[in-house]
């Protein structure tokens, strides 16, 4: 019998030989609370110290905890754990959205993925069964195109997809894994690990139940938590204006000197006239709706629309760190270009923070004459040149020209440049 709070099963997939096996979650759940706890224990026990992050022997684990899929508020995260190509140590990241609950309803608590598929595949988790599906036609596609194609092929728009874009396929260090087109599990290079396995995505759709040990006491605890959340004065404001719309209005502490990196962190003062152009209140007209992750009481994700012009785009997400990445760090005060850049990172499967750090570093090198147009494929990396930021994101994700030079991160690029 499966334990309360769990789907009951750990799925093991060896992409090299295509084998799929299962084991009961009780092997792990009696010692460790699920999700990241179980992932960490399996990594500790099974991953050899000599394995390199992009070797087939590296393990990529997805895990959801026991509260996911219940009525408990805020429980929407999936933990992704592996050996990180950034640090060569533990890479642990997570993201919200709707994939986590669907994975539980599909019947799985943890996925343990090893090996490397000969050709691109995606992992399908459907109502208690798992299979590997050919993904040749999805390789090279953005995360948005991939989700659209999988939903369309299954004829079901409730399928939840987590996967990589071109950045992960090309093993760019700042590649992340993107859930529901917008929620990024970043910071650890997990997208590069997924790409090294030729695994394009995991898609889930489920209808299996989650139980709790003492339902009435559980509901009492849920209700108590909800009352606490409603006492949080900003809960209502977040629902109406999203996190950025509340925390980053002009004049708010978020814009005080010291909070944001300006021109690759060379300064922490940014011209108030520039702040006014991208602050939370200014970009309100671009925010058409606020959306919530699974089971969240305080939806905070804005749906952004740039209706026309060169940066025409529509999609989910814009955060405080988006304005660090695509405004202050590169000195860009064009809100439409910055929104375009942020949504492009979601499509390409790039971590906006890491990608903008290496781009900001390149801009500063250009400013100081350490690199010239000869190295940058003719691009002028001058502060505020948002068209170049957008062009570099594409080059980075596809490892094209100067993008390839930057694709292994600042440390590797600085060592290659060697003019310090």
């Amino acid at each position: 019998m499966k334990p309360h709070g769990y789907a009951g099963r750990v799925l093991r997939v060896d992409l090299t030989d295509g084998s799929i096996t299962e084991e009961p979650i009780t092997r792990h759940s009696e010692s460790y609370v699920g999700g990241r706890g179980v992932n960490a224990r399996i990594l500790f026990d099974e991953l050899g110290p000599s394995v390199r992050p992009l070797d087939p022997e590296n393990m990529l684990l997805f895990g959801v905890g026991p509260l996911v899929g219940t009525l408990s508020p805020f429980c929407s995260r999936v933990s992704i754990d592996t050996k990180s190509p950034f640090t060569m140590g533990v890479g642990s990241t997570n993201c919200g959205g709707h994939f986590s609950a669907e994975m539980k309803y599909a019947g799985y608590d943890n996925l343990v993925i090893t090996g490397r598929a000969e050709n691109p595949v995606y992992l399908w988790l459907g109502h208690g069964e798992a299979e590997l599906v050919d993904a040749d036609g999805l390789w090279g596609k953005t995360t948005w195109e991939t989700e659209r194609a999988i939903r369309s092929s299954r004829n079901d728009n409730m399928v939840r997809v987590i996967g990589i874009g071109p950045a992960g396929e090309n093993r760019v260090r700042s590649a992340c894994i993107i859930s529901d087109r917008a929620k990024a599990a970043g910071g650890s290079g997990v997208g590069a690990v997924m790409g090294s396995k030729n695994l394009k995505a995991v898609a889930a759709r489920g209808s299996l139940p989650v139980t709790v040990a003492e339902p009435e006491r559980f509901i009492e605890a849920v209700d108590a938590a909800r009352r606490k959340i409603e006492r949080f004065p900003k809960a209502k404001l977040y629902r109406e204006d999203g996190y950025y719309g509340v925390e980053s209005v002009y004049g708010s502490p978020a814009w005080e000197a010291g909070f944001r990196p300006v021109r690759n962190g060379q300064d922490d003062y940014w011209d108030p006239e520039k702040i006014k152009r991208v602050a939370g209140d200014t970009i309100k007209p671009y925010r058409k709706k606020i959306l919530a992750c699974f089971g969240c009481l305080v939806g905070c994700m804005p749906w952004m629309v740039v209706p026309d012009g060169p940066y025409k785009v529509e999609g989910e997400g814009w955060w405080n760190n988006s304005s660090n990445s695509f405004c202050t760090r590169v000195d860009c005060d064009d809100p439409e270009a910055a929104i375009k850049a942020h949504l492009l990172t979601n499509q390409l499967g790039l971590d906006g923070d890491n990608a903008s750090v290496v781009i900001g570093w390149a801009f500063e090198c250009y400013e100081k004459g350490l690199i010239t147009k000869k190295e940058t494929d003719g691009l002028e990396l001058t502060w505020g040149n948002h068209d170049v930021v957008i062009a570099l994101l594409e080059k980075l994700a596809h490892r094209e020209g100067f993008g390839d030079f930057l694709a292994d991160g600042v440390k590797a690029a600085a060592e290659r440049l060697g003019r310090g």
Binding site: N157, L208, T211, E316
Partner: protein
């Protein structure tokens, strides 16, 4: 006759109504959106949310109030009598 009125403009797509509804239908035993009478879907190209309630809804007979209304944090549902 009582009705549950839905407002997809206010809904942010968290699906907690489905969990709550299934808790009622399973006699407070489990969370299972496939047993829910109410359904939430979202078009990820446009962010348009679609809400519906099917004929299995019994307005949470035996509960103090319909659970989907009680647990919606966004004011996207209300009971009309």
């Amino acid at each position: 006759m009582a009705l549950i009125l839905l407002d997809p403009q206010r809904c942010q797509g968290c699906r907690i109504c489905e969990s709550a509804c299934s808790f009622h239908h399973t006699k407070h035993k489990m969370f299972e959106p496939s047993r829910s009478s109410t359904h939430v879907s979202r078009d990820n190209d446009t962010a348009v949310i679609t809400l519906s309630i099917d004929s299995t809804c019994d307005l949470c007979e035996g509960e103090e109030a319909p659970l989907c209304v009680k647990y919606c944090a966004y004011g996207a549902r209300r009971v009309s009598r």
